[in-house]
C-alpha cells in the first residue's frame, strides 16, 4: 500500500449510536475513504449487506451499534453482533481475513471513542483487527 492510499471503509451505523456531529468529526479528522449506511437500528444489519460492502471493494467494514443494554429496540445490538459473528465465519471460510469486519458499541455521547476508532483504521492500526 502506498503512503497516500486511503483505506476504503464502509460504516453501517445505528442513528442512535452515531449522530451527525460525530459523522462530521470522522469525515474531518480521519484519513479514510468512508461510505456510510445509516440504519434506524443496528438490527437492520444483514449478512448480505456486509458481504456486498466487501464486494464493492471495502478494505474494512464497521458496524456501530448501541451498547447491548441500551438498544431502544431491546435486542437490536445483540442481533447485529450475532450477524457480524456469522459473517466473520463466512469470511474465514472464503479465505478473507475476518478482522476486516469489526463491530463497535457506542452511544452518541461517545464521540471521542468513535473518532479514535476510525483514526486507528486510518493509521492502519485497526485495518486487520
Amino acid at each position: 500500500m502506498s503512503p497516500q492510499y486511503k483505506p476504503k471503509v464502509t460504516l453501517f451505523y445505528c442513528i442512535n449510536s452515531i449522530d451527525k456531529e460525530t459523522l462530521k468529526l470522522i469525515h474531518a479528522k480521519v484519513s479514510v475513504e468512508l461510505t456510510t449506511v445509516e440504519m434506524a437500528c443496528s438490527s437492520m444489519t444483514k449478512d448480505v449487506y456486509l458481504l456486498r460492502a466487501f464486494e464493492s471493494g471495502a478494505d474494512k467494514v464497521v458496524v456501530v451499534a448501541c451498547p447491548e443494554t441500551q438498544c431502544r429496540y431491546v435486542q437490536g445490538s445483540i442481533r447485529a453482533r450475532k450477524r457480524v459473528e456469522y459473517v466473520k465465519k463466512i469470511l474465514n471460510e472464503i479465505g478473507l481475513d475476518c478482522g476486516r469486519l469489526s463491530m463497535l458499541n457506542a452511544t452518541a455521547r461517545d464521540k471521542e471513542t468513535v473518532v479514535k476508532f476510525f483514526e486507528d483504521i486510518g493509521n492502519y492500526k485497526l485495518l486487520k483487527n
Binding site: 449478512d47 471460510e93 472464503i94
Partner: protein, 222 residues
C-alpha cells in the same frame, strides 16, 4: 417441514469449480424457514461465492433465483429460462427439490448446496428439532401425540428403558426422555391405560427400509 443446513463454502466451491455461469436456486418453503435456502440465503451465498472466486482469481457469473417450492414442477418451471442460461444449478433446496430439478432439466448439472437433515419443527426461533422419521405407519394416537420412533434414542415402543434421570435421556442430558413426555401427556389426557397395550415389533417395510416409497392417489390421476 424439512430441515436442512447449508453446506460449508469450501465444499460448495469444489463442486462449482468447473462452471463459469452458475444459477443459485433457492426454495421459499421449508428451507427458507430454517434459514438455509430462502431468498436471503441465496443472496448471501452468491455474494460469498463471488468473493471466494475473486480471492482465487476465478471468473464466475452468478444468477440468483428463488422459487416458491422446488419440489413442485409448477413452481420450478418459473426458473426454466434461468436454468437454460447457466452452465449449472446450485440448488438450495432439500434433496427432493434437487432431484425435482434434475427430473425437469435432465441436461443441466444440478448440485446440492444443502445437507437435508430431518423432518422437524421450529422449537424456538433458530432452534429446530426432529419430530418425525416418516416411518409410514403413524402410531401417535397411542403415544399421546409424542413419537417414540423419533424422539426415544432407543426407539422403544413399549415403555421406558429405565435409564432416564430427571426427565432426561441417558444418552444425553440435552435430550428429553420421550417416554417421560409420553407418560406425562397420557396422564394429562387421562389415557394412561394406553400403556397397557402391547405394541408388537414394528413392521419397518413401510419405512425407507422397504426401499424407495411411492404414494399413488388414483382419484387425482387423470
Amino acid at each position: 417441514m424439512i430441515v436442512g443446513e447449508q453446506k460449508p463454502i469450501p465444499e460448495i466451491m469444489k463442486t462449482i469449480e468447473p462452471y463459469k455461469k452458475l444459477l443459485i436456486l433457492g426454495c421459499g418453503t421449508c428451507v427458507k424457514t430454517c434459514f438455509a435456502g430462502g431468498e436471503d440465503e441465496v443472496a448471501t451465498l452468491a455474494s460469498a461465492l463471488r468473493l471466494a472466486c475473486k480471492q482465487q482469481d476465478k471468473e464466475i457469473q452468478i444468477q440468483e433465483v428463488t422459487v416458491e417450492r422446488q419440489c413442485e414442477n409448477e413452481f420450478i418451471k418459473e426458473a426454466a429460462n434461468a436454468v437454460k442460461e447457466n452452465e449449472a444449478v446450485l440448488s438450495l433446496a432439500c434433496g427432493a427439490g434437487v432431484q425435482a430439478i434434475v427430473r425437469l432439466f435432465p441436461k443441466s448439472p444440478v448440485l446440492p448446496g444443502i445437507n437435508t437433515t430431518f423432518i422437524g419443527i421450529q422449537e424456538s426461533h433458530g432452534v429446530f428439532i426432529e419430530e418425525c422419521q416418516g416411518c409410514g405407519n403413524c402410531g401417535l394416537a397411542t403415544f399421546g401425540g409424542i413419537c417414540p420412533v423419533t424422539r426415544c434414542s432407543k426407539k422403544l415402543l413399549n415403555g421406558p428403558c429405565g435409564g432416564s434421570k430427571d426427565g432426561k435421556c441417558e444418552v444425553s442430558k440435552d435430550i428429553d426422555c420421550a417416554w417421560q413426555l409420553i407418560i406425562d401427556r397420557l396422564k394429562t389426557l387421562g389415557q394412561l391405560d394406553n400403556l397397557k397395550k402391547y405394541i408388537p415389533p414394528k413392521n419397518w417395510r413401510t419405512s425407507i427400509s422397504g426401499g424407495p416409497r411411492k404414494l399413488i392417489r388414483e382419484d387425482h390421476i387423470i
